[in-house]
Amino acid sequence: MINLQNIEKVYRTDTVETLALNKVSLEVAKGEFLSIMGPSGCGKSTLLNIIGLLDEPSKGEIRIDDQKTANLSDKQLAQFRNKKLGFIFQSYHLINDLQVLDNVELPLLYRDTTAKERKQLATEALAKVGLSNRVKHFPSQLSGGQKQRVAIARAIVGRPEIILADEPTGNLDSAMGNEIMDILIQLNQQDGTTIIMVTHDENMAKKTHRLVRLFDGSQVQ
């Protein structure tokens, strides 16, 4: 499903050059739930961004569904992300000026859908994360756990095959973190969604199929 070969990422600024990823190769199977761990600054987010086609590797090749992604145009990449990928972030990234339902509908605005379809799909996605009763709320009226559930609903509303989660429980206490984790596990088991999750929490990582550790940009095991 996802295939990374010898990925390198170098960040260059005027003064310093950071090797954020060093020869990372990774194969993720369809339906797999993979977690990535490692100390802060070791390149986890960078790796996830590259898998999510939000950033380009300096060297190496990524294939998703056996498709090379290196030569896709900006527009094609955007379409690719929209159809295949769902993103969940540590800081939720909800749009505060939009109600919960509108936040969840967002990805559908970038594909051909009618308002009715959008509303229906978003309502379903919110039901899946148990937030059917918060549809008209604004993000500021929600708890952290609820916000992250909205973000999950937004990530799954377009029925992507792959979900990329960057420390989804990082800002939450363990009870709320577990709730989120349960939802992700359920998505993986029931819908067969492939999930790659960055986490700091060993307990969360244990619940996944496989763990990849990074250290200073390199794979450790």
Partner: protein, 393 residues
């Protein structure tokens, strides 16, 4: 997508209020400026109503006071013959002091039924029309036979005709110098003369024929000269006049120069207004640009997110441009509501078409301004790297 953007704008109405008021105020200012420009332009396009190119004006004052009016008339008829015999003089006409392009102005009401518009009052000779090359539209100009007419014949211009009679026939109608007096008969209609210069509309005017006593108080001589009339000729003319009318203050002026200085009364305020408006527009543009720029930087997280979930760089930038254009549209709707009151309430008694054209121009102007001010910030936004933007919070 449109509904989505609208929602986004609506939910942020507090933040957008400032931007919208800025657009509203600039629309109203631009509307005022365009109204002025369109009004001036409309006036400018109208015919000036006379041929001023080779027209000179002699300003004099009658100092000759013989016992009999006949002697006075002979005195001035002799002067007329003397001047007319000069080869550079095509036509000459004595008239009242109020000449086009001069500050002097005589006004009075003209009455017809319930209408009594204020009107410029000129006293002129039979040769006046040809000296000024004025254009007769209907009826006829004065002739000698009018001296014995029972009812005083008058000629009005198109603007007075419209005010008195609307679309009705004017020729033959009786009008009054006072209400219900009906002491004058309209015998002709001439094209209006823009007596206040190129940028002001012709004013309603009525022309009366000189009578035997008029030379007591007439104060100007219009002279249509040939194109080769030069300074030497002007000197000769001056000497002739000064020798003939001893003790009178003689001044010769050229109509093209008078027109220029009359135009200045309109051009100068126009330029001042334009400069002020330019500063204002630049201010507004910078403000708009700044606010849009600031908004985009405040919304980096949102932009990163949109990129992640499927927006291309281009759709991010067009989204931001659309948002500004929607804001502009809302401001323009409110602005148009205010602007429309001017023709509806007839505030400055300008034609409605002036306001409407000015409104359309202002709307186009504001849209262009907003478009230009949001294109660059929009492009910047398209360049924001999603991975970086998403990382910042």
């Amino acid at each position: 997508m449109f509904k989505h953007l609208f929602k986004l704008i609506w939910n942020k109405k507090k933040q957008n209020f400032l931007l919208m008021s800025e657009m509203l105020v600039s629309f109203l200012v631009i509307f005022a400026v365009f109204t002025l420009i369109v009004y001036y332009y409309n006036n400018y396009k109208k015919p000036i109503g006379l041929d001023y190119q080779n027209l000179w004006v002699v300003d004099y004052n009658n100092t000759y006071n013989p016992k009999s009016t006949d002697s006075l008339n002979i005195f001035y008829e002799n002067l007329r013959q003397t001047i007319k015999s000069m080869p550079q003089v095509k036509e000459i006409s004595f008239c009242s002091d109020n000449v086009p392009f001069f500050q002097n102005q005589w006004t009075g009401d003209v009455h017809y039924k319930n209408a009594s518009p204020s009107s410029d009052q000129y006293t002129v000779e039979d040769s006046y029309k040809n000296t000024l090359n004025m254009k007769l539209v209907e009826g006829r100009w004065f002739n000698k036979a009018d001296a014995v007419a029972k009812t005083q014949p008058v000629i009005i211009n198109e603007d007075l005709k419209e005010k008195l009679f609307g679309t009705e026939e004017a020729i033959g109608k009786l009008v009054g110098s006072e209400a219900n007096k009906n002491d004058m008969r309209v015998i002709g209609v001439i094209q209006g003369v823009k007596a206040k210069g190129d940028y002001a509309p012709p004013r309603a005017a009525i022309y009366k024929r000189t009578d035997t006593g008029s030379f007591h108080w007439l104060g100007k001589i219009m002279i249509h000269v040939t194109p080769d009339a030069d300074a030497a000729f002007e000197g000769r003319l001056y000497k002739t006049l000064a020798n003939y009318m001893k003790n009178s203050n003689i001044e010769i002026e050229h109509m093209p120069n008078k027109l220029k200085s009359t135009n200045l009364f309109y051009v100068v305020p126009m330029i001042v207004t334009l400069i002020v408006a330019c500063f204002l527009v630049i201010n507004v543009a910078l403000g708009l640009f700044g606010v849009l720029w600031y908004n985009i930087n405040k919304r980096r997280g949102e932009i990163g997110l949109r990129r992640a979930i499927g927006a291309s760089g281009r759709s991010v930038s067009s989204q931001l441009v659309y948002e500004s254009l929607i804001l502009a549209t809302l401001s323009l709707i409110i602005g148009t509501f205010f602007a429309v009151q001017f023709p509806l309430l007839n505030v400055f008694s300008l034609q409605a078409s002036v306001y409407i054209v000015a409104m359309l121009l202002s709307i186009i102007f504001i849209y262009l301004l907003v478009l230009v001010c949001s294109l660059y910030p929009g492009r910047q936004a398209a360049g924001i790297l999603p991975a970086v933007a998403l990382h910042e919070e």
